[in-house]
Subunit: 351 residues, 2 copies
């Protein structure tokens, strides 16, 4: 029923390029040029047009502009729903700042499943959007249609959907997970409990490899690692903690898939009377601000969240503008960034 045009009519009607042309006493072509190629106009003509533009409060209708063949300045970012808001907020900030510098506008959409995602796919195919950024390992993919089918330039950030030809800016998850294990082992812990991410999740799979590699390198076999599948959310931390508490012989070191998991884990085992780091050490993953405000402060691996977003956005911009990427693209199209260990109070030497 209600089109934007109808709304316009109800209020002030939006001026069109013809109105400006009439007000300035020139043709529509001249108005168009005044806005997009001012150097082609005599200064006094340009000024006349600009005055009319200002007087009428004219904003070019970019729907029409795009239809004619102009490029959109919208970049769509696909964010997974309902996990880890503090983490993604920082990544989005890096993206937003970088896009804005280059004249693009960030819009985000959340994955929600089925019909909802189908709309995202249609949005991508609809011509509104110039490019695509995804922070989600699972791309909208409904009934055999993928959001990538639209052929938009796209870059993955943080999680690799593993689509051939799709460049990705990622944390070196494997190495980061190794750092988690090495930190605990370095403190003397010989048996570990691991509350992972959702089974099958890209980050989880990669980090899992890192955990196993580090264990092996330290000479520890699979019997030294007890795993519990989590979900990168508070609830997974609670469930993991309950599983931990139920163990007859509890490992002294605990690795959590992310900080929220770790916080919920800590909370739950403390409620059961265990002391951290006296009775057990817990290490998180992500480095959200909050990890420094909980009790005890959480040892964790900090991801360069802002930079991951910024670098991913930069890469997409280069793709869109056709400029040569500043960054040298490694074969396979995956840029890896390193995490940083933040040693705080939730871990300490055993015994």
């Amino acid at each position: 029923m209600s089109s934007y045009r109808q709304v316009m009519i109800e209020g002030r009607k939006a001026p069109r390029i013809g109105d400006v042309a009439a007000a300035a006493g020139v043709s529509v072509a001249t108005v168009s040029r005044a806005l997009s190629a001012p150097e082609k106009l005599r200064p006094e003509t340009r000024e006349k047009v600009m005055e009319a533009v200002a007087a009428l409060g004219y904003t070019p209708n970019s729907v029409a502009r795009q239809l004619r063949g102009g490029h959109s300045s919208l970049v769509l970012v696909i964010v997974p729903r309902r996990t880890n808001p503090p983490f993604f907020a920082a990544v989005l900030h890096g993206i937003d700042v970088t896009l804005a510098e280059a004249g693009y506008v960030l819009i985000t959409a959340y994955m929600e499943g089925q019909d909802h995602d189908l709309r995202l796919i249609e949005l991508a195919a609809s011509g509104h959007v110039a490019g695509l950024l995804t922070i989600s390992g699972n791309l909208p993919n409904v009934a055999g249609r993928s959001i990538l089918d639209a052929g938009l330039p796209a870059v993955a950030i943080c999680a690799d959907p593993q689509v051939p030809g799709l460049p990705a800016v990622l944390l070196d998850d494997e190495r980061a997970a190794e750092m988690q294990v090495e930190h605990l082992i370095g403190l003397g812990h010989r048996r570990l409990f691991y509350v992972s991410g959702p089974p099958g999740n890209y980050n989880e799979v990669t980090r899992h490899r890192g955990v196993e590699a580090a264990m092996k390198r330290a000479g520890l076999g699979p019997e030294a690692l007890i795993e519990h599948p989590g979900n990168y959310a508070f609830s997974g931390g609670i469930a993991g903690a309950n599983a931990y508490l139920a163990l007859a012989d509890r490992p002294s070191g605990v690795i959590c898939g992310n900080d929220e998991t770790a916080i919920a884990f800590v909370k739950t085992v403390r409620a059961a009377g265990l002391r951290i780091p006296d009775d057990l050490s817990v290490i998180g993953f992500d480095g959200i601000e909050l990890a420094d405000f909980c009790e005890p402060t959480l040892t964790t691996i900090a991801q360069p969240r802002f930079e991951l977003g910024a670098k991913g956005a930069r890469l997409l911009i280069d793709l869109l503008d056709g400029t040569e990427p500043a960054e040298v693209m490694p074969a396979g199209g995956r840029i890896l960034m390193q995490g940083t260990l933040l040693a705080r109070d939730s871990t300490r030497k055993v015994g």
Copy 2:
């Protein structure tokens, strides 16, 4: 440089309505009708068209559709930057689910200031968007141009920009702040410390009124309240705590503007050796999940975050579709919802 069209050409060229028409052996009008008014077609014609659509993988170009006068299905949500991600994530979730049910797509954009916001204003005026939702008390407003000038249907959520004619779905902030005070006073606290939100902020101003009203009603004068301006972020909680610690005679009750502030406050005063709730009681605001995972668990006022978003979205949808709002609009166009006190371990009886 790179238009969406160019991209299409690089990959499979996007089929146009004419291609489908040719493939199905009908006219473009028939194809259009098959998609938007199938009941007007003979079943066999419709089927023929649908087959061609499927075979070519045709998605209507909604840029062209909109230009002609069709309504956009995009709703733009303006989110303030860099504050309180866990809070806004829940509000957005309520918005997203509600919009999706009605066939709209949520896109969010963050406020960042100046040039950046100017782009948002242009986005709103550009014809891409059907309606506007704002969760920010300050609307993009640059050089005298407001994002509302575009005349889009709009609804404010959580914070009231106080624009005449702009409907709003709000927490009853004043009442909620009264509840904070009443809770502490009910526990016997007679002097309060208040780490507020940013001075001038809509929510802060309203809650401030509530705090003062409740103090007065309890027979406490202004000397019983010591204020420190905060910012709804961790840093404000730390600064507030330091100000509190510097006091010669510290109030036993502390009100924080939101949960993040409270968490940082608690952390900081505990580090200085104070015990909570033994030495002082602290109450937060918002009711984010995390408030139940910190040490001690945080007493707070829970906002119906999902419902605020959902109700605001519902209102906008009614505006867009021209349906009669289910909710009776009070005069002034402001719908108030109530907060809920969650009494937990960070507050207790004095003495």
